[in-house]
Symmetry: C2
Subunit: 437 residues, 2 copies
């Protein structure tokens, strides 16, 4: 063993798995890869489960399979199911086959659910009861199972019928507070809020935010209980989801971090920069249509950044509000008309408020009243385009079943650039023709 390792190990052994994960995340990759196999399997496994996806992948790739299996055997099935897709494709089958039979079956059952659904987030560790059990009988049952990993994160217990369909929910506090001879049928809450296994992760997070429960049961199509989602896992997903939307809006993968290696970041960002380039040339094409107008009146070129800047900012304001409300489920498809009306009113008022200032500056700076009028009118039309595009693009993407956040800032600024330049330069051309400005 190299001399430097023990120093690190001693220090790492005392850490909470989440804190160890932080350290493994921030260490140089080679060092993290060297340390991981020397850690006790339970601690290593729990830390691994907390890592960012990219780092998980890098560490698992470097781990020989005879080190990997004992490590995975320590983890609950849902955590193993989250890690399996991070393994190199060739290693997935072998790794699964090396797991103990019961764990393998449970992992495979969880792997059937897409990772961005309630089924993909849920744990399969929960305790089911029958309606006719007494509080005392349940307490006995729990004491008997106290050592089992299945009881680890219990907050609620679930009452099911003979067909495994969920009929009620009992909280641990009921078991402590209620009298020993009470039956579950008297104690349980029948108005159970639940998730469907195929609910997407946005909906999952919304239901937690809405109802404030510590955990929610997950049912399959037949109403059978198949898993449980914890509030803290939904929190992680909600946060990932919200920040992913921020990234998608500007053409990022949703998984980039400040310290992601630049080579990885290039592969992810460059395609979007090329898409943005294509849309920027659309705007350039509009300007080129008016090249002779600009040649005769170069002050127009000076105002292009103002038109583009204001339209882009207003469009981003609108789209950010809409994308946020869609992500949090606070706006329904039927609200589109009301949202559009609001944004158009805003565009009109803000357009006039900004347009008058721009017009005055144009008049004063370039000494041309016509330029002022053209700039003011173009600004109003530009703000209205921004409002329209800011609502229409996310609603349109949603109708096409595309994530409304996806590259939406690129699309909206394309519209505001193209429309803004067209109105501004077009009106300028008309002004020159009519008034010889």
């Amino acid at each position: 063993m190299p001399e430097t390792t023990p120093i690190h190990l001693d220090e790492f052994l005392k850490l909470h798995p989440a804190d160890l994960a932080d350290r493994l995340q921030r260490l140089p990759l080679e060092e993290a890869q060297r340390i991981l196999p020397d850690l006790p399997p339970t601690l290593a496994a729990r830390a691994l489960a907390e890592l960012e996806h990219d780092r998980q992948h890098e560490l698992l790739k470097a781990l020989p399979i005879q080190k990997l299996t004992p490590l995975l055997a320590e983890l609950p099935p849902n955590v193993v199911a989250d890690l399996v897709p991070a393994l190199p494709p060739s290693a997935r089958r072998t790794t699964l086959d090396a797991l103990p039979a019961e764990q393998r079956q449970r992992v495979q059952a969880l792997l059937r659910y897409a990772s961005d659904t309630a089924g993909g987030i849920m744990s399969d560790r929960f305790i089911t009861l029958r309606e006719d059990m007494t509080v005392e009988a349940v307490r006995e049952l729990l004491r008997a199972h106290a050592q089992e990993e299945r009881t680890e994160d219990v907050a609620y217990l679930y009452v099911t019928d003979a067909a495994q369909r969920l009929v009620g929910i009992v909280s641990l506090r009921d078991l402590v507070f209620r009298r020993a001879e009470r039956r579950m049928s008297e104690v349980m809450n029948r108005d159970v809020k639940f998730l469907r296994a195929d609910d997407d992760q946005e909906k999952t997070a919304q239901r937690f935010e809405h109802y404030h429960y510590l955990g929610l049961p997950v049912l399959d199509q037949e109403g059978r209980l198949v898993g449980v989602v914890k509030a803290s896992d939904a929190l992680e997903v909600a946060q990932a989801e919200a920040t992913e939307d921020m990234q998608l809006m500007v053409g990022l993968s949703g998984e980039e971090r400040a310290l992601t290696p630049w080579q990885t970041a290039v592969r992810r960002r460059l395609p979007w920069l090329y898409i943005n380039l294509a849309t920027a040339f659309l705007a350039a094409f509009v300007v080129s249509l008016f090249e002779s107008t600009i040649a005769r009146w170069t002050a127009l070129a000076v105002f292009l950044p103002v038109i583009a800047g204001q339209g882009g900012n207003a469009g981003m304001q609108t789209i950010t509000v809409i994308v946020r409300d869609m992500a949090l489920g606070e706006i329904a498809p039927g609200d589109g008309r009301r949202a559009l009306f609001k944004e158009m009113m805003l565009g009109l008022v803000n357009g006039l408020a900004v347009g008058v200032v721009v017009g005055m500056i144009g008049w004063w700076w370039k000494g041309s009243f016509a330029l002022g009028v053209v700039a003011c009118a173009a600004m109003v039309l530009n703000q209205l385009s921004a409002a329209f595009a800011g609502v229409a693009i996310p609603f349109g993407l949603k109708a096409l079943r595309i994530d409304p956040a996806l590259a939406s800032s690129i699309f909206v600024t394309t519209v505001t650039d193209v429309a803004g330049f067209f109105f501004f330069l077009g009106l300028a051309l008309l002004a020159m023709r009519w008034f010889g400005a």
Copy 2:
């Protein structure tokens, strides 16, 4: 009572408070104001607590104080403390005075904490135990308090010493699973993760995401237990925080929703549009310095939107990654240098990749090799400026103790516009002088 009300009421009485809140949020304001006083106080109060801040304010404003007090008396102190700031300033004192003495004291204690800190999110309902109590004694204690509102959301119990300092934590499952004669000192976990009352809400959410607990205790400066934060409340805060950052970045208040009245939205957005206007005129000023250059070579004007568009998009990509990592606490102040290196490498590679394409298009479209070279070089310099500004602006704002998200998209596009136009038009001027291009 008007004839239409009973129909609504019947329907509303069956709803979960969170679902009722959804309805009150979406009803026309007048209708919501009319219905609220007719609802049973408990239901109305719980729904009110779930509303968006703006709607809470509107509904509370319209409620006569004799209707308000019984409603508030139904709510836990932390919810009342959240609602008080939404009252019209003149009504706050009177409302507090009308509350029962114990509730008033508890509300006032909670109001001492800023609303964006752990103290501002926490509940003061928790159960404290002593180290020498047995499991059986605690079960008895809980049964005796079963009807008290204080036990409502229990997940953990807290063991304190004579000075109210937290010494350990016991989960409800310990009470169910462990033997009756065990003492708290044997059962409790001494390695307690906790929050400080003045920890900000970002840090609070981070600790939940990190440790995955159902609740975290809140300590004052002396280590005394003063409250408890639930995972689901932290989830709500985390989501609000992440989406607030999205809004702040583009110059929104962080509280705007798709259906916020347009008059309110104008007041909040217009100031930022004016700030953006000032910065856009900076870019316009740079262009104006080169007006005579553009007059002789109008093809340059056509490329301005391409320069601005690519710089703006790249800058937004960088700043979005940095702001996200800062908000989630995944990047430390000391990481600035590494993040800057990564972004500069990205800017160089992406700048070359995009610049070559832009240069080729410029050469082919306008038939000028010089234009192609100038556009390519300007694109590389522009992407490097975007990278630098995208890192320097949020780190700079943070160093000044300003939220790094605040209007950062406006600042970063100012830098990319000004630098981009300056490099592009400046290089074009040099090319014209040296090569007569």
